[in-house]
Assembly symmetry: C2
Homo-oligomer: 354 residues x 2
């Protein structure tokens, strides 16, 4: 059961963590250079690997998910030519970060859609690395990573993936995609509180210098000691909470959890369409509707958002150019069918009363 | 009362936070783009200003203290010549970070001592900016910031200060020192759990580009909105806990708190000397004994550390070249006289039994 929240939380992270996860925050903190922390960190690594779908090095930074993205991008992109798929806010962020370190080719598409296969293929002829956001939270589109990674692999282009809003809710396949590295989020489908950022490195070759705090080679060295440590003092309570959240993920079972995310997002989309609400996403050749966040077009979304809030339902507005145009409802982590039913019921009431 | 710790904690951070601070971690998280978080963030800003001793912009990053140091250093040091006082591990860290962005002149002294006034003066003739660690946690020396800042100001050299292990336990004087910016820690004398890093910027002129995640202009922009926000999802539970810790700091009162830190560290030093234990620090012209961490020379420090741990006392070993040479006992945040008495009593037992 989600704890303490006075409303049903459909914002695309931070989600409302289960009670046991929130309780873990207040437990006494382990000594950060001792055995107890080492065991905690190691357990987190083990529990995360199946979620990443690979057996690479798991490292956990203290920071927002963007810290993990930059730690990955800065080291692997420096002085290289890279392509970035940009069809939403987080694609833009990947591009902006990459631009600080390497030479960027944007593979752009209108927000809510995806580039064509042809556009992607032609961009990849000129680069060494491709950066892509698995699940574009700003638009509600999941990129077809099997297709995209096949195209990249065929051309010998390395792949860096932002799995911040998919991991734990949608299958991530580091191995199958041949990904070099992936950056995750804990506060979305994993259901932990925000503030730490796991990354998985499948292959280290070519990781050059990064900013001091974000240099993953420091994290690798500290994690490789007899006691698994972090190079800088970690956010100890958040590590404890992440472990609890991961235990809950595995207790549900990954296959069932992914299926649940698929099922409730489908229920939400169908319910919206049934009441005549138009979905915003138009996924195109290289995407599909996201199983973790659904965006829909609505008149005066800010008023509708406020009305829903009065009725105990919190959804999110659009970001950037989509502000004032769409609403977004996330079906992440512990959102259940009955929550989606409540959202649909209240939305229908709001739309008919205005 | 510190909560749940099975030993008296003398490591130089993370300290064991008071119970009310740990409890705040488990409270329901506020929406990170809403009024409740905005008020929380604003309250933290207000409560921190007197601890910084200035009325600059307070911004809080999610990350270890090193993230705040790099956010400050990267922006202000880029493409400049800077001097760094290096007489301990954290001076080295400042130097290493600064070296990624600007041209560094090291003002070195043997660890445990400080450079001479003459050495500092001559170094400053060639630079625009001086970087200094207020309280060098690795050696137990507090730099004489009044003297150092006077020397810098006389030469028109700007000052960036690491106050990570002093703030909340020793008076920090941003205004008096004419500091341009300061980077703080929450998990030392403030007594909060680790994972967020406050900085104070007194003057923004000359802040150039920083790494994406560490670019303080993004934090300034987000904090300047109608709702005070962070540019990236903040570690919400840690913000709640920091507020509680700061309330406790102010309830004790800053003057009394600084006096308590001075008094108990003096008691510790006197007690050590009374039993014939030699202090490691030899502060020199530009330093004094730290009021927040005391280092002392002892044979086989690792064995003594383990023996103390068996008796319910946790102290820290030396770092870098001081490993195996010294022990360190911090008197930070909520350490009390009776704790120092217990440490001295048990240390005497250990030394006489070996």
């Amino acid at each position: 059961m989600p704890s303490g929240s006075p409303y049903i939380n459909f914002i695309p992270g931070p989600v409302t963590p289960p009670e046991r996860v929130m309780k873990a925050l207040s437990e006494p903190m382990p000594y950060h250079r001792g055995e107890e922390f080492s065991e905690l960190y190691e357990r987190i690594m083990e529990l995360l690997k199946p979620l990443f779908g690979g057996d690479g090095d798991v490292l956990v930074l203290t920071g927002s998910s963007t810290a993990g993205m930059e730690a990955m991008v800065s080291g692997f992109v420096r002085r290289r030519r890279v392509a970035v798929i940009v069809d939403g806010k987080f694609g833009e962020r990947l591009r902006d970060i990459a631009s600080l370190y390497g030479e960027v080719v944007s593979v752009e598409a209108r927000w809510g859609t995806t580039p064509s296969i042809e556009e992607l293929e032609s961009s990849l002829s000129r680069v060494e690395t491709l950066l892509v956001v698995h699940n574009e939270t700003s638009t509600g589109v999941e990129h077809d990573m099997n297709a995209i990674s096949d195209i990249a692999m065929d051309r010998g282009v390395e792949l860096l993936v932002d799995v911040v809003s998919s991991i734990g809710g949608v299958e991530v396949k580091a191995e199958r995609w041949g990904a070099k590295a992936l950056a995750a989020g804990v506060q979305k489908c994993i259901g932990a509180p925000p503030g730490i950022a796991p990354v998985m490195i499948m292959r280290w070759e070519g990781y050059r210098s990064a900013p001091y705090y974000l240099d993953l080679t420091r994290y690798r060295e500290a994690a490789g000691k007899m006691n698994r440590e972090t190079p800088f003092t970690p956010a100890l309570p958040l590590f404890r909470a992440l472990k609890e959240a991961l235990l809950e993920v595995h207790e549900e079972g990954l296959a069932l959890r992914y299926e649940r995310h698929r099922r409730i997002s489908e229920k939400l989309r169908r319910g919206l369409e049934d009441m005549g609400v138009k979905l915003f996403a138009d996924p195109g050749e290289l995407g599909s509707y996201s199983c973790t966040v659904t965006s829909f077009i609505i008149d005066d979304p800010e008023s509708v958002r406020r009305e829903l809030l009065k009725r105990g339902i919190r959804v999110a507005g659009g970001q950037g150019p989509l502000r004032g145009k769409i609403l977004r409802a996330a079906t992440m982590a512990n959102v259940r069918e009955r929550d989606v039913e409540a959202l649909l019921f209240e939305l229908e009431n709001v739309l008919h009363s205005t």
